[in-house]
Amino acid sequence: MTVRLIVLWAMPGPWPGSTEPDPDGFRDVVTAALTEERRAQAGPLHRDDIRRHTTASIAIERIARLRGTPLATISAQAISAWQAAGEAPLRVAAGFHLPGAAPGWLRALARCMPAPDRAATEYSASRLEASGHGLVLSPGPVREGVMLASPEVPDPAARVRSMLYPAAADAFLSESPTWVPFSGSPPRLASAERLWRRLAEAVRTGEPLPVGSAASHDVLAEVLRSSLDITAPPSLVRILYVDGSEAEPFPLRTARWRPMRAEGRSVRLGLMSMRHTEMDADVDGYWFRNRLVSTSRTLSETEAFCAADTIRRLAELRSAGITRVELVHTGFEPAVIGFYRGLLRWLQEADAGFSVQPMYLMGHVVPGTPWGAGKEPSGDP
């Protein structure tokens, strides 16, 4: 096994924001890399974006090796383990840290270090703070400075072990939803019952629920919705997409939505454009743009994008006086789960009522179980 070494370089700059001369273009390449990071927050990165980021990073590292001061060396594996532990700071595995953030990053690393390395790392953070330098992480064939040990981080398996909800699983299995929307489709009915049992098993064992290969998107949406009707302790279910990527656990929390007075307007939307163009004339628009959703990234990343986009759009819709959406499902599981994850988050945080009426395309349009409505009464679990 080859241990890949990452050298931590203290770098004087000039960093973005400073007005010092920039003879080797360091500030430019850092700005280029930051631009791609910002772009990634707004939407998917394309192959050219990734190339630009990689090229900028290589240049940053090259300049740091020329002008920087080596502080210490750590293995890439150690950073990866730190990141996987889930308690690391933002941009934990980034290739550089601006002067304002670099000491904090080093101190967070120091807190995970075994005692002998902790003091050295904290000392480096103090030096960095005093000098106003930033930090660049560059791969190198040989170590420079002190070799830091791997951070002492919790076992990722412990996270899984903490996601066992036997009481919730029992509650799910003790009640069997009626699956009214699928009463005309025996295969969907059977599929929903199977997925319901799998969901309960996943909640009980902490194993992920496979998504995309075992049930169609409408069955999946209905099963998740039905779980909110069951009186059970709040639980989380892990979501594993067919590409092997795991999304954030989906919250299964009993919902008691109140009926809402007809106070706002209603719109009829398709979930995603370009998937069922035959219904273009029957809807007011589409929730997601296919071009932004169907792009080259993992399905869990796509789901996260859809959830974030949904939260933003719901706020816009509510401020425009729209309180109800009839949503015609057009498939693609990450878009479906992302939408409902975003909806649940928004409903929990927003001080407003909103309802979504799912509509499933099953030869003809069949209404599903509605999500949301009036504000959830306080004091509910």
């Binding site: 096994m1 080859t2 241990v3 890949r4 990452i6 890399a33 791609e36 990071e37 990634a40 990165l45 192959r47 990734i50 190339r51 980021h53 990689t54 990073s57 290589i58 590292e61 090259r62 090796r65 020329l66 293995s75 890439a76 594996q77 950073i79 990866s80 990141q83 934990v92 595995a93 980034a94 290739g95 550089f96 992480l137 560059s138 791969p139 190198g140 064939p141 040989v142 295969p187 059977a190 599929s191 199977r194 496979p210 995309g212 290969s213 075992a214 049930a215 169609s216 997409y241 067919v242 590409d243 092997g244 990527s245 080259s296 990234r297 993992t298 399905l299």
Partner: protein, 534 residues
């Protein structure tokens, strides 16, 4: 691949929906009387094999009516032909034109395209082999290519193929009706859970026709029709191996657990079919147990079959069979099958990377540069090693475009210490060497890769030399392999590197690749690996 190398049976009749609805996919004739069989044997003084005699008396003939395929016995088939008539005709027609005439130990049992015949070769066995001969090439008749090692097996394959062809044709008619009626757009690409047909060809030979879909309800890959031909000039199981690769790659891509289920057509709730014989034979050869009658290749057996079917040598297959790679093995096999990873690259990454599973699935976010940079270096090193293997395989030539262009096989075994041992008949890679140490004449070489950004190359070469140091005492020639950037460093830096390697008795090799191009290709590979299953 030309004439005589494959077996796409001749389509003599145009299949139509009406035909399919009325006529079974396989028709059998009345059995021949024992007098008729005995008379044929006496007339030509033949010792007929018992298995074929029994088949003639029971089956008479077999016919696939859509395509007009006929397996001949001693009763005239619907075309009016039988084996005795064909045998007599061949002997008569070729008596004067071919020295020695038509061989007396061959009995024709099926007419094939391009003037080829499938014949039983009478070799004294009770159930003799079936061979394919080319009527235009009498010189090859004595060394005819085998189609099946027994007539019984050939007849089984015929029956299975007849049913599978009907399944494929039925599906194509169904799809055409869907398009004609406007229910389906003509250019609409099928989704993983839509039924779809594949025709798998190798040059001018149809190797296989398949109808399949991913079944979401049961999370399996349903195979509604599976027709596998005999490409007998190659390894007898080569077609089955290729089809297993294709089926399991489809199963992986669709997100299933790799379970295969063979069913009769595309109707919902269709009956199970037995696992096709070619796949059974390939699985048996690989030591994998499958219950043929269940019609299922379960997930565990399918995973093993995937490992055995992809283009991996025994050493690499052994790594993939190991328990630590249980989860990642299907992803890696898919990567090899889809051309994303070369087997040598996988071998190197499994041995050298600290987290090979994540690396081969490309899970690192490119913006997590500190981890991603390490991944890129792991992939680049593997790519450099694979380039060296391709160069060695090319022998004296200077290029290798495809597996078919290789002039010698190369065994690459990577060790956990960051080195790899290459073995070949002759290492003819002097065009890659820098410095004074020759490689020509050696048959093995232990390689350490020195890959880094150009300004770090001298340090990387020193580090690679340190890795090779434990192998100095004995053993094969040693080499440090680095990217072409070394030559652009300037003469002093290059000379320093050459002197260091010469002093250590190590060959310095410069691959033709430069680091910027290597980085771009490595990033593309990781990106493809990351989204392979969509």
């Amino acid at each position: 691949m030309g004439k005589g190398q494959g077996l796409p049976r001749q389509g003599k009749r145009r299949a139509s929906r009406g035909d399919s609805a009325r006529v079974p996919a396989l028709r059998t004739g009345p059995g021949a009387s024992s007098e008729r069989v005995g008379s044929f044997a006496r007339t030509y003084r033949l010792a007929l094999p018992p298995a074929w005699q029994e088949w003639c008396e029971k089956q008479g003939w077999l016919e696939q009516p859509d395509a007009g395929w006929e397996l001949l016995g001693l009763v005239p088939a619907p075309s009016g032909m039988d084996a005795a008539a064909m045998f007599a005709g061949m002997r008569l027609a070729l008596r004067k034109t071919v020295p020695g005439g038509f061989p007396a130990d061959l009995i024709p049992v099926e007419r094939l395209p391009e003037r080829q015949l499938a014949c039983i070769r009478l070799d004294g066995r009770d159930d003799p082999p079936v061979v394919i001969i080319d009527l235009d090439d009498p010189g090859s008749w004595h060394d005819a290519q085998p189609a099946a090692d027994s007539f019984s097996r050939y007849a089984q394959d015929f029956a299975e193929q007849a049913g599978a062809l009907r399944g494929v044709m039925g599906f194509l008619h169904y799809t055409q009706r869907e398009v004609d009626s406007g229910h389906r757009a003509p250019g609409q690409a099928p989704r993983p859970d839509d039924w779809r047909a594949y025709r798998f060809c190798s040059q001018n030979v149809v190797v296989s026709m398949l109808v399949l879909r991913h079944n979401r309800d049961d999370n399996v890959l349903d195979v509604g029709a599976c027709l596998i031909t005999a490409l007998s000039r190659l390894d007898p199981d080569a077609p089955a191996r290729a089809i297993c690769t294709l089926l399991l790659a489809e199963a992986y891509r669709a997100g299933g657990d790799l379970t295969l289920r063979f069913v009769q057509g595309i109707r919902r709730g269709a009956d199970r079919l037995a696992v096709p014989w070619p796949i059974m034979r390939w699985a048996e050869r690989c030591g994998i147990e499958i219950d043929r009658d269940s019609g299922l290749v379960p997930a565990d057996a399918a995973r093993r079959l995937f490992i055995e079917s992809v283009r991996a040598d025994e050493h690499l297959a052994g790594r993939l069979r190991g328990g630590s790679m249980r989860v990642e093995a299907p992803a890696i096999c898919y990567g090899i099958a889809s051309g994303l990873w070369e087997p040598t690259e996988v071998e190197a990454m499994l041995a050298w990377s600290a987290r090979p599973g994540q690396l081969l699935r490309g899970v690192t976010d490119p913006l997590d540069r500190a981890v991603y940079a390490a991944d890129l270096l792991d992939v680049r090193s593997a790519m450099l090693l694979a380039a060296l293997v391709r160069r060695v395989a090319a022998g004296d030539g200077d290029r290798k475009l495809d597996a078919e262009d290789a002039v010698q096989s190369v065994a690459a075994v990577a060790d956990n210490d960051g080195t790899c041992l290459l073995r070949a008949k002759a290492l003819l890679i002097d065009d890659w060497t820098i410095g004074s140490l020759p490689v020509r004449g050696a048959s093995a070489i232990r390689v350490a890769v020195a890959d880094a950004e150009p300004d770090q190359l001298p340090s990387a070469i020193d580090f690679a030399l340190a890795r090779l140091q434990p192998h100095a005492a004995a053993g094969p020639l040693r080499a440090v392999l680095c990217p072409r950037d070394l030559l652009a460093l300037g003469i002093p830096a290059r000379n320093t590197a050459v002197h260091a390697t010469d002093r250590a008795g190590v060959v310095l090799l410069a691959a033709p690749q430069y680091t910027p191009a290597l980085t771009i290709r490595a990033a593309d590979k990781l990106s493809r690996a990351r989204t392979a299953r969509q």
